[in-house]
Amino acid sequence: MTSWPELEAMPNKLVNYGVTDNGIAIIELCSDSDGNPLTEGKTSVNTYTRSMWEDIDQAILNARFDDDVTVIMMIGHGEKFFSAGASINYLNTLTPRYKYFFCLHANETLSRLEQTPKLVIAALNGHAIGGGLEIAMAADIRIGLKDNGSVGLPEVSLGVLAGTGGTARLSRLVGKAKAMEIMVTGRKFSFEEAQEMDLVHDVYDSTNNEEFRSDVMDYASQFTLPYAAAKAIGNIKRSVQSGMEIPLEYHLALERELQSDLFQSNDAKTGIAAYVEKKTPRFEGA
């Protein structure tokens, strides 16, 4: 029963960050509909601007370098949204060249998330639309709160495409045919439907947002030390994330290397010894 940590605002005040006692780093997106820091009376829609990406980027690096952190959890502030994606008003002020660099930076940041050998969970406490879903798709596990949001990539209605990894990741996650249909129609759909196509891993029927937060926290806790072999989880992630993009022969080679890395770890010794002695293992992540 892990409790939620004190979160602190990152420099641009668009992301709140904190780490639980058992090593779960929370990255909470927090902004109003224009992508500005939240002020009294405004609802959190958690849209992003370049400033939010700077905060996200920094938070990912913090979690990456923090040896105590084994799991990263992304969530939206407030009741209704995980994230509504890029702030349209903000985008409207940018030159095409600036927009290009804006997208590039967002892409690089999500790559960082994807390449960090720590499990990333997107807790979809509300709508994950457009760029919001694109962030979630760079996570390893997605969990939705029942009847409290939808997903979709509606960029087509603005005459553009989901350009922060949307077309690339959605087609990899749900297959070409399904991805096409979702993106050319731009339709929004429920977490349940998303679960049917394995886009969302689980939908929790927690009674409210607060309970959902505690449920996903409990879920995430099973991947933390000392009960989970966090290093092995990290290597599994590395093998799946990078391996899927290279030919099978190379993937198998990568897998062997990652396995050999684990064979040399204390955790493998601990895990195997505990099994033989009929104890539950206590891992150290190395």
């Binding site: 029963m1 449920d215 409990d218 879920y219 099973q222 989970a228 009929k278």
Partner: protein, 386 residues
Amino acid sequence: MGETEVLEKYKPNFEEWINQFNEWQSRIGFDSAWLGDYRFEIKFDWDSAGDTIEFGDFEGMPKWERRMQIPQQSVRDAIISMISVQGDTEFGSVEQQWHLLDSAPTEYDKKSAMRIMCEEQRHGWQMAYVLCNYFGDQGIREAQKLLERNSAANPIRGESDRPRLLGSFNEPIDNWLDFFCFTHFIDRDGKFQLKMLSTSSFKPLAASMGPMLKEESFHLGTGANGLRRIVKQGVIPVALLQKYMNKWVSTGLDLFGVDESTSAQWAYVYGIKGRYDEREAGIPADREHLNEESRMHYFDELAKEMERINKGRHEGQPELFIPSDNFNRSVGKFVDIRTDVHGEPFEGDEEAWTQYLHENLPNDEDVAELNEYFKEEWIQYREWKD
């Protein structure tokens, strides 16, 4: 014993399970009219469930109240399988027993059997509820499977029906002597299982056990009482009764599982299933011999119960006895070792052994003889009081 919480509202996935349950009832031959005004309820006794994990590797941590709090997948899987097996036995026994209602010796016995079958179904509900409510899709699937299996002993079986998970729940309960033996020996085993789960690290499971144990005591009471009344009546010869004891005791002992069981050990390590006397034991558990230990407790209790049953016997009649725990075993280290009912090594060839079993376990002639006795007043009369 604390206060019992009776749930008033269910989530849709359990409502859906209830629909499947209703189909199960008619498929396996249980007429829902037999329920009378009995209503299935989900009951928890949270106070007796305990707040802190009582034994095993997680001792001292708060008990788990939701699936997500369970620290490892292997632990979760073990809990699900434990609940599924328990639920499987509950429905299995109804499939074995319902056909006896028509031939009940007295109104009292008919009503007792009816009540037992209602309560077994409630126990099945309780286990299915815990699966559906706490274990997501995996739990819902397991709860459905409880309704897809059908005891091999049920006279009504479909072609594709898979049997119940444990041997005793596929054994035919052919007549009312079998019924009393089953409730006395097998429901008593059930009591042991429930007691062992009552200290579980998974709180909803532990909290289910209080109300179930209360009901279960009526079941084994019915068995013990039935056997006492048969002995008192003195119509069925003790020698014939003894054969039924021999049959059901060995079955009951087998139910405790293999010796040096690793799954019992894991269940203990995970804090899921304790010793029969976990809260009173006062000494560390012998983790490698958990099944053996509970089996011994059970065996001791059988001996004590048998003394009480014997008290009513007619003058000059021999005493009924509990056969050796080595006799006729299908599980454990005595599987391949032949002993007589007193536990002495059996000397003799294959043929002699077959003959010995024929003489000491109910055979076809015994069943025919028994059916003749059933035409008489073979059991002491008892009035049903509401």
